[in-house]
Amino acid sequence: MATNNPPLLEVKNLRVEFPTRRGTLLAVDNVSFEISPGEVLGVVGESGAGKSLTGNAIIGLLEPPGRIAAGEIRLEGRRIDNLPYEEMRKVRGARIGAIFQDPLTSLNPLYSVGRQLVETIQTHKPLSTAQARARALELLKEVGIPGAEHRIDHYPHQFSGGMRQRVVIALALCAGPRLIVADEPTTALDVSIQAQIIALLKRLCREHQTAVMLVTHDMGVIAETADRVAVMYAGRIAEIGPVRDVIKHAQHPYTKGLMGSIPHLGERGERLTQIEGSMPRLTEIPKGCAFNPRCTFRGERCLVDRPELMAAGASRAACWLHDARGVGVPVVREPASA
């Protein structure tokens, strides 16, 4: 629901590098996007595409030696990528929250759930312990923990996986952030619980007017939850647009391949498409368009020039197919080796 309101989060030309002994790895390459207040942006892609790192960069928790080499990140107009640690700490939790993949390891096993909630609340808001505890109780009820009054003093190991992730969500929301970065929030859960957690997340964020950057490799979750989606490939955004459009009318060959590989109920007899080859390693990113070795539509231009995001239907795609000059002379892909 992009509106004329100023964006909540702006990421411009973000570059994340990893200096290693074999040279510098470029894990996130010139990525730009925006998130509007209250909107859910899905970020989808294969493992290693750079989606988690982008999320980490936004909350300022890139693990060394990884670092932001270039670009800007602005939250409500204010730059946050270059803040000193203490300033950024105040932003975390209070303005940007985060949810990680594994609810078991996300919670400190030695402290009760209530204590962890109260601590987080009191870090950001000047409430007394009693007030904070009351707020914690409210939150636990909101996320659907039955018997919250006495479960608030239970330890993480006393909750089931789905319950734990609810607690994690409560913790992420308790200081009232405007944006949540959710990194694979359902991947570690049973399929039957995934739907519940996603629905919970969606509902809460709508109620609290919180935007979500939902990072996942599961297209189904995106289809259910997101307003817009960004497809990442090899550290770059391949396509970005409203969810309906990207799914039904994919504009980038990679996205087309992804959508074709998802089985649909009711379709019979059609083979699932498979994209030949695999995503390149970060040390061997091809020249020009990163996807070109696997692309059926490639032309000479794709081997040489790197495409930026450009208008394509209702979305934007980084593909020369949508450029007036096209892809040039088509280059047929060599038959894939066994």
Binding site: R89, R92, H157
Partner: protein
């Protein structure tokens, strides 16, 4: 919880029995107990009579039970070397060893723990690296070398501290303490440092590596993502989680201190149980060896038990609870 304690108690008794078995085997089968007690030219008939009197002709299991019974009462017979009752010899010297071990342990903990936390929190700082290097030295230097070096510097060259003995001690009932006299305390300093240094470096390295592990966990990452202060993260979350495994190992190390007192007591001529043990090995004084073994076994078992209970108290995952499926997800 009760089941846990009971189980541990049973295990402890089992271990003690095994130690007892080893002690008993030593007693009975190594060397000839009779030879140690009589002269060269005692006639065979007297030896036989002695054997009978000491119950050495009874079947082995009976002798074992006898031995355990005696051990439980604290009787280990007479020393082959001095013919004194072994238990009296040990009791005389126990306070010396215990005081020394206590001081060494205190020294190791009070310095090792904070140093470990510091180097764990700031591992790349030059001071941390320096401490790491020094700790490596501590682990590499054998205890007796440290002792000798200390004696060389502080006794022989500087003449500040005494190089042997306990200095002055005061009798409190059957306990003798060195704490109440300045000279007693002086005599404690170098041995305590020598004994504690190895443990100190061990503790420091352990705490450091645990800290580093903990700092990389997801819950610390999540805590940071929630904007908790460094203080809350380092001392509230990280430290508590670090201490849980550290407690176990530290407790076991304390037992190690008591065992290592053997070396320190030799270097500093400290009249403790350790020195007694070394003498007994040199002279093949079996009763003393056996008694020392049981004593150490008992101490270790008690320490292990205490550590387990402590662990229990600190880690909520061990106390009942488990998964409470309170309906729904």
């Amino acid at each position: 919880m009760l089941a846990f304690i009971l189980r541990r108690l049973v295990q402890s008794v089992a271990v003690l029995l095994v130690v007892g078995l080893v002690s008993f085997s030593l007693f009975r089968y190594v060397g000839d107990p009779i030879n140690g007690m009589v002269g060269q030219d005692t006639p065979a008939s007297e030896r036989e009579a002695l054997k009978e009197k000491l119950g050495l002709n009874d079947p082995a299991p009976v002798q074992f039970l006898h031995f355990i019974g005696n051990a439980a009462k604290g009787w280990f017979g007479l020393s082959y070397r001095t013919s004194e009752p072994v238990n009296r010899m040990i009791l005389e010297r126990l306070p010396a060893t215990l005081e020394l071990s206590f001081c060494a342990a205190l020294f190791a903990l009070l310095i090792g723990l904070p140093m470990g936390v510091y180097t764990g929190l700031y591992p790349r700082h030059w001071s941390s690296r320096a401490l790491q290097a020094v700790s490596l030295l501590g682990v590499s230097l054998p205890t007796f070398v440290i002792g000798i070096l200390l004696i060389l510097v502080f006794s022989v060259m500087l003449r500040w501290l005494p190089s042997f003995g306990r200095g002055e001690t005061v009798n409190l009932g059957w306990w003798t303490t060195g704490f109440l006299r300045w000279k007693g305390i002086e005599a404690l300093i170098m041995p305590a440092i020598t004994l504690g240094l190895f443990q100190l470096t061990l503790i420091m390295r352990l705490v450091r590596s645990e800290m580093l592990e903990v700092m990389r966990t997801d819950y610390i990452k999540f805590a940071r993502a929630r904007g908790l202060t460094n203080r809350a993260i380092n001392f509230g979350h990280a430290l508590k989680n670090t201490l849980v495994p550290v407690i176990t190992i530290t407790g076991l190390q304390l037992g190690s201190i008591i065992a290592f007192s053997v070396v320190t007591e030799t270097v500093f001529a400290w009249p403790g149980v350790g020195q007694l043990f070394i003498q007994s090995v040199q002279f093949v004084d079996i009763p003393v060896m056996a008694a020392y073994l049981m004593l150490i076994g008992l101490l270790f078992v008690l320490i292990n038990l205490a550590v387990d209970l402590l662990y229990f108290a600190v880690d909520p995952r061990l106390r009942g609870g488990g998964l409470a499926r309170a309906g729904g997800h």
